[in-house]
Symmetry: C2
Subunit: 134 residues, 2 copies
DNA sequence: TTCTTTGCAAAATATTTGCACTGGT
DNA sequence: ACCAGTGCAAATATTTTGCAAAGAA
C-alpha cells in the first residue's frame, strides 16, 4: 500500500507538529479549514491517528480530555483543571522506572506517561490578577 | 441536598470498592444486575461518578479506555496492550515530583498519575505458554 | 409527605466507518 | 489509468440528561 503525499496530510501535520503544541482534532480542523474549507473531520482524525501510529506525533488522553501532541518525544504533562489545556513538563524521560515497574508488576513495560493535575501558570496568573487589585 | 442511602448505591459501591479492582461502568452494571436486574446504566454512571468525586474510588482514563478503580489512594497503573485491562503498580506516591513539576511549569500541582504501557504478567504468561511447548 | 434517586429513553459527545468520488503518481 | 485518500453522512461507542415514577427519611 503506497503512501501518497496529499495536500490535506501536509496541512494537518503542519497544524499539530511542533514543540508544546497540543490540539484537539476539532481545533486542527478549524486551522486547516482556514486554508481549505472543504476538508472533513474524518480526514483530520484519520491522519492524526496515522501520524500518531507512525510516531510523528502522539495522542495524550486523560479523564474527559484528549489532545494530539506535536512533540513525539515521551514527556510529562500538566493538565489544567481550570482551562482544560495541557502544558509540557520538559522532564527527561526516566527509563529506570519502566524497569522498576516491570519488576514490581511482573509484566513487560514499553513506556510510561505521567500527567500532573493542577492549574497552569497562565490560569494562576489570571486568578492572581483578579484577586489582588485593591 | 440530603444524601440518601439507596440499595443501588450500596450495590454499586460494593461492586467496585476494593484493592486492585478496576471495572468499566458496563462491568459494574453486569455485576449489580445479577442481584437486581432492574438497575439502569445511568444509575451506575451517576453513582460511580459521585463516588469518584467524593474520593471513595477513582476514575482512571487513557487512550481509548477507562476504568473505575476501587482503591482511592493515588497509585500507578500498568495498562496492558494485549488484554486492555489495568493492573496496580503498588508504588508509593511521591509528593516530591509534584513540587518539582510546579517549579518547572510555574503552575500549581495537585497530584499526578503515571500509566505504564506494556503487557501484564497474565498475558505474558499466556504468551510464553503458547510459544514454548515444543 | 417530602424530595432525592431511579429507570428509561433521548440527547450529547467523540470518534470511526462505508462508499462513491477525487486527485496523486 | 490506477487506487490511495478524501468528503460526506451514517454508524458506533460512551456518557450524560430530562422527566415521570419510585422509595428513603
Amino acid at each position: 500500500m503506497e503512501r501518497r503525499n496529499t495536500h490535506q496530510k501536509q496541512m494537518i501535520l503542519q497544524a499539530v507538529k511542533g514543540r508544546n503544541i497540543h490540539r484537539t482534532a476539532e481545533e486542527v480542523l478549524q486551522i486547516v479549514r482556514e486554508e481549505d474549507p472543504r476538508i472533513g473531520l474524518a480526514t483530520v482524525y484519520r491522519n492524526l491517528n496515522l501520524f500518531a501510529q507512525e510516531g510523528q506525533i502522539q495522542k495524550i488522553e486523560g479523564n474527559g480530555w484528549s489532545f494530539y501532541d506535536g512533540n513525539p518525544e515521551p514527556h510529562d504533562h500538566l493538565h489544567c483543571i481550570r482551562c482544560g489545556r495541557i502544558t509540557d513538563y520538559p522532564s527527561s524521560y526516566d527509563h529506570k522506572i519502566d524497569r522498576e515497574a516491570e519488576k514490581a508488576t511482573g509484566g513487560r513495560v514499553i513506556c510510561h506517561m505521567t500527567v500532573f493535575e493542577g492549574v497552569c501558570s497562565e490560569c494562576m496568573a489570571r486568578e492572581e490578577e483578579n484577586a489582588s487589585p485593591a
